[in-house]
Symmetry: C2
DNA sequence: ATGATAATGTACGCCACCGTACAGAACGAG
DNA sequence: CTCGTTCTGTACGGTGGCGTACATTATCAT
């Protein structure tokens, strides 16, 4: 098991994911990513079939890390209100919150992007919907609330791109949660 | 004043706007749009400086029509609750609601796109914020509510791209408005 | 009709990116 | 050390879009 400076498939996937976050799917191009790694194309084509495989690897990586970090930590919180509160605060905490998600949703013309975006979206909506259902809302209302609150997240990511995002995220998320009957936590 | 079959600057702008809606800014390319019109490049370069000028014209056209159709009709409605109700229903009525807006926000890397998107966003948020303020909410809360409700619109457009949009828009918008203290209209 | 001007077509060079060919370097096993 | 395998660099051809050059057609005023 050599631990050399040679590039691995995962190094490329990580770099591709960076490029994806910065410039969207079209930025996941072989030559630019190679430059980012200080490597050359042949290195890439040794490890990957083609450009599409790189994009797939980046998407797979995103789906995996995103699922691990976010979803896993939340399932442990028993109180649904507290779970939602934590979820929302956590979502709005990162400086680039939602940006990549938004890009992928918007770029869902590409079938590979779409299928990943679709899975992640469904999973996230389900988590939120479950929490609202546990709070005693009807299935239909829980679904609506989930759609609304996740849309608020996506919308904020979009508004951020033109400098129209809420200035004070903390105050904003409290204001977001209140209409759904969730008072600000400690 | 010849009314011939010759192509005008506006014909190109319209076709470019179609391309923009379908494929985002990167789809506003000279040759593809020329093909769409059954014309050739030289025809384009006679009327326009370069590709950027075409994109600018498409964006200008979008900003203009969007302002005329949406904003103008609403200013006449005196009751803010009714105004919001109409605005939201109207926004969710079109089959491709929000799609172009979302694309432009997401593609705001391009300075030209960004400045237009910025203006339109500010204007729309101001309209909504005013309505909430007229309903008696504090300036800060009105701003939060405006951000939230417009985000809901943007989010729905994003979710639509992966087939996760609300199935029944009518029921959804009523559920959206209720938490803000706006009961469904007639 | 005829010539000036407006508009379009064809052909070209340029660049960025995809993918391939092939030669050479790095590394481990014997 | 040396040889085969693994990886990387350089060089090339192909494609699609940008922009230009120049020839060609259409249209209008006279």
């Amino acid at each position: 098991m050599p631990r050399t400076a040679r590039l691995t498939r995962d190094d490329w996937a990580a770099a591709a994911l960076d490029a994806l976050a910065e410039g969207g799917p079209s930025a996941v191009a072989v030559e630019p990513v190679a430059a980012r790694l200080g490597a050359s194309k042949s290195s890439f084509y040794w490890l990957f079939e083609n450009r599409q495989a790189l994009l797939d690897a980046a998407l797979e990586r995103w789906e995996r890390t995103q699922t691990e970090t976010v979803a896993a930590r939340l399932a442990e919180i028993p109180d649904p209100a507290e779970r939602l509160r934590r979820l929302v605060h956590q979502a709005f905490a990162a400086p680039d919150y939602g940006d990549l998600t938004l890009r992928l949703l918007t770029a869902s013309d590409d079938p590979a992007v779409r299928s990943v975006a679709e899975r992640v979206t469904r999973r996230r909506l389900a988590v939120i919907e479950t929490a609202f259902a546990e709070l005693g809302h009807s299935p239909e209302l829980a679904r609506h609330y989930a759609t609304m609150s996740y849309s608020t997240y996506l919308g904020a990511a979009a508004l951020r791109r033109v400098g129209a995002a809420p200035e004070d995220p903390h105050a904003y998320v409290d204001a977001v949660l209140a209409p759904f009957g969730i008072p600000p936590g400690a």
